[in-house]
Amino acid sequence: MAATVLEIEALTAGYEEAAVVRDLSLGVGEGEVVALLGANGAGKTTTLRVISGIVHPMAGRVVLAGQDLAGTSISARARMGIAHVPENRGLFFGLTVAEHFRLGHRGERLDEEAAYRHFPALAELRDRRCGLLSGGEQQMLAVGRALARHPRLLLLDELSLGLAPLIVERLLPVVREYALESGCGVLLVEQHIQLALTVADRGYVLSHGELVLQDRAEALRGNRDLLMASYFGERATATLEADT
């Protein structure tokens, strides 16, 4: 397996005193797409929030390319190469589409053309204020902007949220290729399980904040019943294939 980009060890995190994610360990390698699956409220978003520094862990470690991220601010993590597309899309309603691509941190240049290549519809909306875009158009902008940043680790929360089927169908392979070409690691939260598993290398399933199943993507795809069962909290007893 290629070098790991992200390593999470025994992570427990949540809001106020309640732990929403418990004792989670997972890893993402270079050029690898990892799907994080689970029912609503399982704790996927929370996990991504911990990685990008929005939520502080109660226990456990988050390591990016060998460096422990404890104490690193959100913006510093972003500058280290984490691109997070959060649930609310992380856009600025007052800025136009084009302005979003001029909004790099110091010394960063965003590859605007790459975004327009992946989402041709965006190019025509260049000068429209983001707040006026339709939901799907906003999602395209959010994902397009993340891709344009050429990150080391891409965190995609609900990638296909609000996107038309045709776009989703084209987008997922793009993410796959993008990871291979650029060597960036992708942690993908996606509700279309089957679609997600067709592009992912590996998958983790969370239930009520606990890791109940992890395996190679083909294996998960092939075992639908086990997958569904694990969604509802039955800890998988099936043998986990060694992820090499």
Binding site: N40, E158, L161, L163, A164, P165, L166, E169
Partner: protein, 253 residues
């Protein structure tokens, strides 16, 4: 019998942008109608237009009554209820209070009575709506503490609680996974069978194709197809503009 919703030639312009260009759409009694189309096609704008949030040309009638000139809350009082693609809950109120705001339509007199300690009898509507979406456990939670899919459902519950004539749902299944959206579909279907008319917008084709009676397809602000799910799914234009491979994957109802 008059249609629950009758929209004729609905068109909307934003400056130079033409978002809707003469859309005709009707919803009959206890029908579940789907509205689909590519991103930016004008689906949300259509709901904004009929619910009075953007000005539109053409004619919109609810139960035969022309809605022209009515403000959003007046349309809501007449029985046109909607949810929002971006959820838009009342973040300062608990889930239960979110529903309560929508469920009661107090006159000034009732407000005064309530002040004097005569708390209005809570009707069963709130309980029913909470139960329909299995949200009873969350009734005292603040919306900000819920996950995305949970918030979406609260939005749906808030729209249902008014027992509207027409219920417009803007992507209620966004943020739900396949299984959850199937379950939502079953419940919406059951609601329609009980007589609730609905307009459903969603990109989850598994949901839309399996529960809707009829489907309208928008592209660039114009209708490009309408009809029964099987017809729409087979329509070559719809496949190339919107469905792609999804048409093949989803099995019929």
């Amino acid at each position: 019998m008059t249609a629950v919703l009758e929209a004729q030639g609905v068109s909307v312009h934003f400056g130079g942008v033409r978002a809707l260009a003469g859309v005709d759409l009707d919803v009959q009694e206890s029908e579940l109608i789907g509205l689909i189309g590519p991103n930016g096609a004008g689906k949300t704008t259509f709901v904004d237009a009929i619910s009075g949030f953007v000005r539109c040309g053409g004619r919109v009638a609810l139960d035969g009554f022309d809605l022209a000139g009515l403000s959003p809350h007046e349309r809501a009082l007449r029985g046109l209820s909607r949810t929002w693609q971006s959820t838009e809950l009342f973040d300062d109120l608990t889930v239960r209070e979110n529903l309560a705001v929508a469920s009661r339509r107090p006159s000034l007199w009732q407000v005064a009575k309530e002040m004097l300690g005569d708390s209005a009898a809570t009707s069963g509507e709130i309980e029913q709506a909470l139960e329909l979406l299995d949200l009873g456990w969350a009734q005292d939670v603040m919306p900000g503490d819920l996950s995305q899919g949970q918030r979406k459902l609260v939005g749906v519950a808030r729209a249902i609680v008014t027992q509207p004539r027409l219920l417009c749902l803007d992507e209620p299944a966004a943020g739900l996974d396949t299984g959850e959206s199937e379950e939502l579909g079953r419940r919406l279907r059951a609601l329609a069978n009980k007589g609730q008319s609905m307009l459903l917008i969603d990109h989850d084709m598994g949901l839309v194709l399996s529960v809707c009676d009829r489907i309208f397809v928008l592209e660039f602000g114009k209708l490009i197809a309408s009809g029964k799910p099987q017809e729409v799914r087979g329509d070559q234009r719809v496949v190339s503009a919107y469905l792609g491979g999804a048409a093949a994957e989803v099995s019929g109802p």
